[in-house]
């Protein structure tokens, strides 16, 4: 989780990602961020997120992203 928060903070140093939900709904993350994020998650966790999983629900909070990474690395 810390590593993921680290990646997110690299994108938006001013956001408290541990306690913020609605990253997509509230427009905190934009398309540039999602693309960087998917690439970084691949780099750091060696997890390739398939297109079908790149949906708002999976990116709305750090927790949701963490769950996604966990789920994909288990399978």
């Amino acid at each position: 989780m810390d590593e993921l928060i680290g990646i997110l903070e690299g994108l938006h140093p001013d956001v408290d990602f541990e306690h913020t939900a609605g990253l997509i709904d509230d427009g905190i993350l934009d398309s540039f961020d999602i693309i960087s994020l998917v690439a970084e998650i691949d780099n750091v966790f060696d997890v390739q997120i398939p297109a079908s999983e790149i949906v708002p629900e999976n990116f709305n909070s750090a927790q949701a992203q963490h769950d996604l990474v966990e789920r994909l690395s288990d399978s």
Partner: protein
Amino acid sequence: MSRHQETATPVPRRLRCAIYTRKSSEEGLDMEFNSLDAQRESCEAYVASQRSEGFAAIRERYDDGGHSGGTLERPALQQLLADIRDGHIDTDPAYVVFTSGSTGVPKGVVACHRSVLDYIETFSEVLRLDASTVFGMQVPLYFDACLKEVYPTLKFGATTYIIPKSLFMFPVKLVAFLNDHQVNTLCWVVSALTMISAFGTLDTVVPHTLRLIAFGSEVMPIKQLKCWRKALPEARFVNLYGPTEATGMSCYYEVDRDFADDEPIPIGRPFRNTAILLLGPDNRPARPGETGEICIRGTALTMGYYKAFEKTAEVFVQNPLNKAYPELIYRTGDLARLNGRGELVFVSRKDYQIKHMGHRIELGEIEAGANALDAVRMAGCIYDAQESKIVLFYVGDLEPGALLTALRDRLPRYMLPNQTERLDQLPLTSNAKIDRVALTLLHEQMKKEKQHG
């Protein structure tokens, strides 16, 4: 878009305002409300309220009492349009679009009607656009790239769907949008297309109504092009190239063969009524295979930069091959060569301008933004094209996070560095300029170290 600062003494201007009034039926034209007189009165009041802006109503009346708004065949309207056209020439500006400038001040490119008309005519011809064209529009309306959708749509009575920006985060939803609206034509920046293909989206969903995919602004990776062609074997794929200074796209290449992964996709040949000169360093035409600067000739040339005569004169120059009469060419700063098939192939930039996510950016402008911060003593920026990353190195008293936050207020979103690295000092060249080559090597080294943990 931004505006240059006004000069110290603002030029007084008078904006002549015509007032047009209309009412569908003859009935009640004499009433006090909604009569033509009442419409005119309220318009006059508005114009008067803008007197400080130079608004002034003209005396001519353009009244269409008893004419439906459903048709343009209205006598007063036609008269008004004729009167407006009467004073128009096609070298008047149609728009000014601002692009990144190396000193931190954006450059305003002034395009005239003639260039836009010429561009849309030849562009539509090559892409074979017509009334059945359904565009899915990706580029924002503040970007000159939107001409490609806006004007052909008006010209042919075609259809354009403006795609919500948020969909470009979610490839499967984006493809669903294209399918729902039966979009058949895309003119997108490369990164928007690769956003779909790079995530393997096309293995799950296919935008099967597409018949034409045009792309530009960056070099299309062959791997991604292959994914698209595999998914849509019947569709046409067109690579576009052109600078804002020549109104839009200047060259095109319709994909007609397979490419190896490391082979560059050509930018092809110029549109009709546009000519390309490849000039070597000594201003002589480059020989086949030799690299030269792409210089553009023709009606497509814009008027130059807004309130920047010197900047304009640097790149809108006399054609060095023409010693007989004045003839301007635009020096793009892009280097290219002709391949064995006589197609133009883009090689690189000759300066520090980059293309990132479809946006044209001067690395110098990012550096200028960082240098403008008190806590930053020195900044140097490079671009990692392979990973599409803007990397900013700096010397200063603030953390990388704080620097990024501060830059958010100064730079447009697409210009924000994707990586910021603080150094004790920046490598300098013998001319005491920031050594970008050394920074690039440093970046490569840091990447390797990261990979090996």
